[in-house]
């Protein structure tokens, strides 16, 4: 394996070559990731809405305002519920699917297509299809419930059911995506260890628990990050279904930011919310890197 990788930056005669190579992408990253992150932190310190007649410096008062607002706390709580409620089951399902599909089956191609295709459907499309399924009376869900004597349910219109209904749709979409990463990780596990365990009489569940899952460490690190970052900013479904309702039951952080900016024109508050979102993402990533990275053992 060729890992004696790096060489002198002078070897082509121009010691700044690496920087030139990085310049295009750094420029884009600078303009659309780093600068915005700093800029939004700056914006969050200013009161800037329809009533303020221009931005006025106000320190942390935007933050104290929103954190003291029960509606915002609901939004935060919804977001955590949505992220955890989607990411954890999707990971569990994705892993289960991968473990089951790692063996050869006649219908394997069908299973792969069936579980993975939702990833290739835009979230707005998936949400629309599920909104139709959830429609009372002639939606699929209600028809099925009627067959069994129930029915009359309106999941997306019920404050208690709306968020779980959206979570179900998100799990449906994300499981196959995560399954692929687990499948790749499983293929990297040498079979000799499993064979040895089998010869010793271990059952498959035990093998999974004691051998496969620990060896999937690096894959878990990656999958957790992907799952959290993706779900934390997943609000497309709100545009075509509930719009954050009913009664803020499905209002998520990024959606609230969108509403504050483009409907209520309160830039200062929206900026403060963005700071919170970005901060949460960074903290999650840092935690993930520290906690999971410690426990995994890499080959190189």
């Amino acid at each position: 394996m060729a890992t004696r990788a790096t060489g002198s930056r002078n070897r082509y005669g121009n010691p700044f070559l690496p920087y030139f190579l990085l310049a295009p992408s750094l420029a884009v990253l600078g303009l659309f990731t780093f600068w915005p992150a700093i800029h939004v932190g700056w914006l969050s310190l200013y009161r800037n809405n329809l009533a303020s007649n221009g931005p006025h410096f106000t320190g942390l008062s935007n933050f104290t305002t929103i954190l003291g607002d029960p509606q915002f706390r609901t939004v935060l709580f919804n977001t955590v519920e949505f992220v955890v409620g989607t990411a954890v089951p999707s990971m569990a399902l994705g892993l289960t699917m991968a473990l089951l599909l790692n063996r050869q089956r006649i219908l394997s191609p069908l299973y792969r297509v069936a579980f993975f295709y939702p990833t290739l459907v835009p979230m707005v499309g998936a949400a629309t299809a599920w909104a139709f399924i959830y429609t009372p009376q002639y939606g699929l869900l209600d028809r099925v419930l009627h067959l069994w004597g129930g029915g009359g349910l309106n999941p997306l219109g019920d404050p208690n059911l709306a968020l779980p209904a959206l979570i179900a749709l998100s799990i449906w979409r994300m499981s196959g995506y995560l399954m692929i990463f687990f499948l790749a990780g499983l293929q990297g596990i040498p079979g000799d260890i499993q064979e040895a365990a089998r010869v010793d009489g271990a059952s498959y569940p035990t093998i999974v628990r004691r051998i496969i899952i620990p060896l999937l460490g690096p894959t878990f690190v990656f999958v957790v990050i992907i799952a959290i970052v993706n779900t934390a900013q997943l609000v497309d479904q709100l545009y075509v279904t509930t719009g954050g309702g009913p009664n803020n039951a499905t209002n998520l952080l990024l959606w609230d930011i969108y509403k504050e900016t483009f409907s209520f024109f309160d830039q200062g508050v929206a900026a403060a919310m963005t700071v919170i979102l970005v901060g949460a993402l960074l903290i999650c990533s840092a935690l993930n890197a520290i906690l999971l990275d410690r426990r995994t053992h890499y080959d190189d």
Binding site: A5, Y19, L26, L110, A114, L120, D192, V199, Y258
Partner: protein, 316 residues
């Protein structure tokens, strides 16, 4: 190449060489119906396998239902959709919904926009991630670790999360409601840079040394030595990126406010949102099917390529 024998491993073995070792999981699984393990009867093993297969089949059908239901609804006549007798199959199949959805939804413009946007993004990304990947893979320079961390951060805090400040930036640049606004933030990709860095690292450095001895400039080395060998990684990244950007909705929504530059995902959402009354479901579902079909058909044809691409992108 759309059907595979049951003894082939699930993922391409050239890309996952560990999978072809004699004792690998793939071969092991293929040898399943072999000798009994100590302590577990053949019967209970068959029972477990049978249960697993039934569960998988049930799950697969469940997963397919939303798609099948959508297609059925799109094919149903406009009147029958709310009728009591409407079951699972369209009683009066018709293609009129697709025609109406296409026209009402202005899909021709949106489709062209999407193709332009996605092509533009992929082409530029290919260049930027290759250059950056090369820099990280093969050079030592002051600040390397810090800059590398910055690329990593871009994965954690994506463009979508930063809609507010990015919109401000676009506004200042007077680029709102242009295709540039949609494309620009995506021209670099921390994710793609990582992939290419891994790919470049796996090329034997001796090849580059030989090229230098022959008097090659850096871009010649990249073009004639590295790129041919890292083509699979680049192709994999391109596929993943195409899938993502074809379906991207939120940032394009914010960056545009007229139909001239909107992509198809936004167009479809607008069509749905405009049908407030909710009784035009067949029209809406036709719109969904139109949007969903291109990528799905390509996926069905190139299944292995797609799945391998996504899988490859996950290997750190």
């Amino acid at each position: 190449m759309t059907t595979e024998s049951t003894t082939e491993p699930l993922l391409d073995t050239e890309e996952f060489p560990a999978g072809i070792a004699p004792g690998s999981a793939a071969n092991l699984a293929a040898a399943q119906p072999g000798p009994e393990r100590a302590g577990v009867s053949l019967r209970s093993r068959l029972l477990r396998q049978g249960t697993a297969n039934i569960l998988l089949l049930a799950a697969a059908i469940f997963w397919l239902i939303p798609l099948l239901w959508s297609i059925a609804a799109a094919l149903e006549g406009p009147v029958q959709i709310t009728a009591d007798g409407w079951g699972w199959l369209p009683t009066h199949p018709t293609g009129v919904n697709f025609v109406n959805a296409w026209n009402d939804g202005q899909f021709s413009i949106y489709l062209v926009n999407t193709v332009i946007i996605v092509t533009g993004i992929i082409l530029v990304q290919g260049v930027t991630v290759s250059l950056a990947g090369y820099a990280f893979a093969r050079f030592d320079f002051p600040g390397k670790r810090l800059i590398f961390t910055l690329y990593l951060l871009q994965i954690m805090v994506p463009v979508t999360a930063l809609v507010l400040p990015n919109y401000e930036t676009m506004s200042s640049l007077h680029l709102v409601d242009t295709k540039w606004a949609i494309m620009l933030p995506y021209f670099a990709s921390g994710f793609g840079t990582f992939l290419m860095r891994q790919a470049f690292r796996s090329v034997p450095p001796e090849l580059e040394d030989a090229a230098i001895l022959d008097g090659a400039a850096w871009w010649q080395t990249v073009r004639y030595v590295y790129l041919p060998l890292t083509r699979p990684s680049l192709a994999a990244f391109a596929l993943v990126s195409i899938a993502f950007h074809w379906n991207d909705f939120f940032w394009p929504l914010i960056a545009t406010n007229s139909s001239a530059n909107r992509p198809i995902s936004v167009g479809m959402a607008l069509l749905t949102a405009s049908q407030e009354s909710g009784t035009q479901w067949n029209l809406i579902m036709a719109g969904v099917v139109i949007v969903v079909l291109p990528l799905l058909i390509v996926f069905l044809i190139f299944q292995r390529a797609f799945i391998n691409s996504f899988a490859r992108s996950g290997i750190k």
